[in-house]
Symmetry: C2
Amino acid sequence: MYRKVALDSLRTYLRERGFDVMIIPSNDCHFGEYVPGYFNVIKWLSGFSGSAGTLVVTQNSAALWTDSRYFIQAAFQIQGTDVKLMKIKMEETPSIFQWISSEYTEGCKIAIDGALVSYAEYCHFQKEVSPSKIIAIDDPFVELWRERPILKFDKIELHEEKFSGESVVTKHKQIIDRLKIKGDFAYLLSTCDDIMWLCNIRGNDIDYNPVALSYLVITNEKIFLFVAPGSLSPEASLYLSTQSVEIKKYDEITSFLKNLPESMIRIVFPEKISVKNYFAYCNSNTQVINDPTFGGTVSYLKSIKNRVEIEGFNRAFLEDGIAWCKLLKFIEDNIDSGLLNEYNVAKKLVEYRSRSIYYRGESFEPIIAFNKNGAAAHYSVDNEKNAAKITKNGFLLMDTGAHYPFGTTDTTRTISLSKLSQKQIDDYTLILKGMIQLSIAKFPKGTRGSQLDILARGPILGIGKMYFHGTGHGIGHYLCVHEGPQSIRMEYNPVNLIPGMVLSNEPAVYVEGEYGIRTENVLLVAPWYENDINSFYQFETLTLVPIDTTCVNKKLLGKECIDWLNVYHKNIYKTLSPHLSKFESKWLKKKTKSI
Amino acid sequence: MYRKVALDSLRTYLRERGFDVMIIPSNDCHFGEYVPGYFNVIKWLSGFSGSAGTLVVTQNSAALWTDSRYFIQAAFQIQGTDVKLMKIKMEETPSIFQWISSEYTEGCKIAIDGALVSYAEYCHFQKEVSPSKIIAIDDPFVELWRERPILKFDKIELHEEKFSGESVVTKHKQIIDRLKIKGDFAYLLSTCDDIMWLCNIRGNDIDYNPVALSYLVITNEKIFLFVAPGSLSPEASLYLSTQSVEIKKYDEITSFLKNLPESMIRIVFPEKISVKNYFAYCNSNTQVINDPTFGGTVSYLKSIKNRVEIEGFNRAFLEDGIAWCKLLKFIEDNIDSGLLNEYNVAKKLVEYRSRSIYYRGESFEPIIAFNKNGAAAHYSVDNEKNAAKITKNGFLLMDTGAHYPFGTTDTTRTISLSKLSQKQIDDYTLILKGMIQLSIAKFPKGTRGSQLDILARGPILGIGKMYFHGTGHGIGHYLCVHEGPQSIRMEYNPVNLIPGMVLSNEPAVYVEGEYGIRTENVLLVAPWYENDINSFYQFETLTLVPIDTTCVNKKLLGKECIDWLNVYHKNIYKTLSPHLSKFESKWLKKKTKSI
């Protein structure tokens, strides 16, 4: 009922201004994955709280497009509203414009918020929209949404070079060298994580992402950083003043862009600039960069971790491995108590992580999912009331990550809580086999992630099952847990895997109504071997969390993978046990025993 | 010396007409892989006889660009000329225009033969060439090359529907339906194999490819086929007259294109039309098709084999398997004689194949390569004098294929002739393992070949070796042994693998100066399993030739692959033995014994 009122208020607003439809993306004006509550209009209108979706509201109807990660969650959350669920990539699902034109066969007037739609999407819309028309408007929810959360601008801290491994000045120089632009240029960044990386700062404005809401413009001579006035810590201010960074006000970005000298070359990433800023910024001197393999962009440079960052990742996974061991032991010790549930297990991990003075928070909404809840790839509960009780029966899937100033983690473990069926054991084993097959891959320079995806996906495909998400995403260094441009997915991504890139490795299987299994380590791309003709790379596993071996079908796993698993566990024990109590250490010894 | 005279005659010809440079591609005006001797200008000028290369001749220099398949062969063949070898995809290799501009820093005038350069390549050249200029000229070698072979126009035979499985009329209809063009259109085909497929005819104008030199124009109403006058057999003529095919003269294609009604929509494949025909054909009503995944093209439709064609392939591999068994036994029986060499072994296989009344010739230049000769991926000898003697020592690599009216084959086997070193055994085993891993892959609808390549390439990559060619190419049905658009390679190819597609599976390893190992089967993409959410596919192996098991490291091969190999061999024995003599059958029993 509440959603209906919200939807209808939007419908009236649109109708009064001559619009029939509004397309509402889930992103904010910085195009990150997590958005401040302020921008969470889709949740307000439909109840859906997932991180990716597009809501389309017409005068008579509404529909939400989301991907397979959220099919189950979205169906649940939009129950009781008149919002239809549109499952992306399913054959029966119409595109947004197919659907709109089935409602408005004669065409209609469609509104978008010019600050939220990227220029690339806008161009795409323009191509598809005919005979309808699409028009950028200002945010209607300023007026409509009474209890709208406020935009939070928290303190911005210095991210010391002892963690980042490189000064702003050298990063700036590297960008200029790689861009190879002749003449004066401006390079606008709207993406907060890129800005944090370049400036060696971190913020706290968005859940799970240690970033500040900010814009940035790189020129040949200096860097202009747009942040909320007064938000920079004295250390950060001082540091930036030594690095040719000039501080500007967050709100002034659009007027700054408008007033850039006409002759300056504008560098544009059509997917990462809003329509609004595009029209303020771009003129005939615009140079569009569409190629994600181009090595001169901040996001590309950021994805290739330096020596200090890699050492930091190792430290982060050590800290995290310690906390995970404590948690796994805690679950084992307390499973009989009848007191464990999905919510308090998540809290317990936070408690263990917090024992490290370096812990800076969780890197995403933790997923602690018991049996059938594990079948929703991105399930999470935000309060104890909704949490399932964890009993000695089936699988517990746990996918959580943490931030440390020296790195970000992301680990999934699925543990068996009871004797399992052969089907469960085989599913578990095939997912583990896939995870290991990818971990041990050797590949030549020039290999793309999509070429390796089959190594992780192959074993479960072999029994006619599959997962609909990617196998691996890039991971930021004390930044966003999902980071581009690299990936390991079925979908084509032209970006080659380069030493220094960090990626997750998370094959999975979901049996709706029964259970989900996912096993996830984090991999570093590293040089392996070189000869006259070629360079070969391999992965180094960063994660240090024991894998449940009690539900492995050894025959199915195969010798090569068993050998890897035993070496992996040996290394975990060696690395973690010095940091554990005697009891914990003894427990870990048992958990990491060769199979 | 002879090459020098040829090169200098071209230099003089160019200079007299105001040109500095000529770029000479290896293709003919039909853009097939094999070209009639008439077009083999590169061989005349440089000695290089490989199937792919580009020769660039400047006033002072000359250079040949070719790919890894031909590095060794090209280096050998151009010895003694002033032609430099440019290895494609090696880091140190300049592009053609980088090289030209290093010779002519101020720019120069470059000639190309307008009938041989595709419009796509021409556009690409135009972008790269500045400050030089590129100009299309007529073939200079008509005048320069005294002993030039003549263009052969042989008989064109009917390819009966009992082999092709479909009439021209239904193929024509399918193209029209899939193209979905509104209004009258013309669709020019320059590629002879597409023309043969569409018209259910076969020719004999090009070595190894049963095609006739021809052009074709599809319109809404009928098909215009351009062939040499009098070349059609009475049966072919009669058949085509019942299928709305109008016969035109080969030489009249360009004038026919010029005189098409202005209003007709021109369908153009920029990579398969010469600059010359492009300018005769295209006007403002041109519709360019660049997307190889577009299902409305003849080459795409041709790649998905129908039921009759698939049954035919099975027959072809049966016939071929019988001949191969006889050959393998022959080699075993005669290896001690001291009389075997690379040339007479190739001839012997032709002899065995010829015993089938259906044999129509070899599908490519046979590769029979002893030890170090096997390290050149496309090695072949054209006379007994140059052929290496085959002795009881090391590896013999044999890669040959045949045409039958019901299908085309392509098989590689490497056999051990003596006790081998551990390195040789392991290399052999890893190649076999890769071949089998790809053979047993299961994959969802929507999978591209490049996603599966790692399955074949992975094992040999695991020891820091690799092959620089693709793992699999499409195979024509009594047509070209290399056929698109599908492939299994590292390089991105957007074409999905679709049931009915036929591909080779040929991982390899080459140790220069020592040996080459390649094991090649042919695979059919077939449906495997379907559920609510997805369709899954698998490969069916078509090839029926035993694989040498005497040099397998069983531990390295692994249980899954051993199981496959044993089932494969069992099936070969069951299928082939009824067609073999008692002695041959006994021999095959031994060769196909489980390991």
